[in-house]
């Protein structure tokens, strides 16, 4: 395949993946409990989060494959997952590899969720909070289109979206936690015995 075509495909699919991953993050962060507190079906958001993450992975796959197949620059298959193994743009391709590794962990762990302890799954899933900013750094560090006005705007929008989602979620969590503490105080529950704000997620014994 024509190297130029591959190069465009790599860049386009990379940007698409960034947009979709940002959307995935926002949908995941703004998941809420307490059905009565919201006006839309929460299950629909959950399903969107999953579906969009899968589409993001597809675009990510295209991004990775086209970048290796493109003979204009030398990026080996190994360099895709081994950070800093590429002879081309060692640093920023390496940063991309880090992000990809983390994302693979998140994705695979979700596929195998039923087979692991809930605490383990949750810990791995939280690697997304590292993977996403690293992906953002890779996008702008590679520099290919990073000078374009619209790409910079895109980057800013992505950052603002995730920041806003995080701020909203943290405020909600704080309000819920203080409501629960107030309730526990009223009930005379000694705080250290009642793991209300960090309630056990582990559920039934494994199996």
């Amino acid at each position: 395949m024509n190297s130029t075509a591959l190069w465009y495909a790599t860049r386009a699919s990379g940007l698409m993946a960034l947009i979709l991953l940002t959307l995935t993050m926002v949908l995941g962060i703004t998941t809420t409990t307490r059905a009565r507190a919201r006006n839309w079906p929460g299950f629909a958001q959950q399903e969107m989060h999953r579906r969009i993450s899968m589409i993001a992975v597809v675009f990510l796959g295209i991004h990775v494959v086209t970048s290796v197949l493109d003979t204009y620059v030398n990026i080996s298959w190994a360099a895709v997952v081994i950070p800093f193994a590429s002879s081309y743009a060692r640093l920023w391709v390496g940063v991309g590899a880090i992000s990809l590794d983390l994302m693979i962990a998140v994705f695979v762990s979700s596929l195998l969720r039923a087979r692991m302890r809930p605490g383990t799954w949750r810990a791995i899933h939280w690697l997304a909070y590292i993977s996403w900013p690293v992906a953002l750094a890779h996008t702008f560090g590679m520099g290919t289109d990073a000078g374009e006005g619209w790409v910079i705007v895109l980057g800013v929008v992505c950052v603002l979206a995730v920041a806003a989602a995080l701020a909203w979620r943290l405020r909600l969590a704080a309000r819920q936690a203080s409501a629960r503490t107030a309730q526990a105080t009223v009930a005379g529950v000694p705080p250290k015995h009642l793991a209300l704000s960090g309630r056990r997620r582990t559920g039934a014994p494994h199996g």
Binding site: T31, T32, T33, R34, A35, R36, P41, G42, F43, Q46, E47, R113, A114, P118, R199, R200, R201, T202, G203, A204
Partner: protein, 69 residues
């Protein structure tokens, strides 16, 4: 006969199950699901499976029982 089983320790009152399966699951005043004890009619089974898949805490399992009583 299929029954919905909810792990009360894992459940964090997201409420998705009640949205998907209002015929069998209602929420108490604190947002936690109450499953009516009746066996699931066949037309609701796919909604129940969807609820089990969508639960963010994986608190729902579907139990198959060949019950004599």
């Amino acid at each position: 006969m299929i029954r919905i089983l909810i792990d009360p320790v894992a459940c964090d009152a997201y409420g998705y199950c009640a949205e998907l399966l209002p015929e069998s699951i209602t929420l108490d005043e604190w947002g936690y699901p109450i499953v009516d004890g009746k066996p699931l009619p066949p037309e609701l089974v796919s909604a129940a499976k969807r609820a089990a898949r969508d639960c963010p805490r994986r608190a729902i399992t579907l139990r198959v029982r060949k019950s004599a009583h």
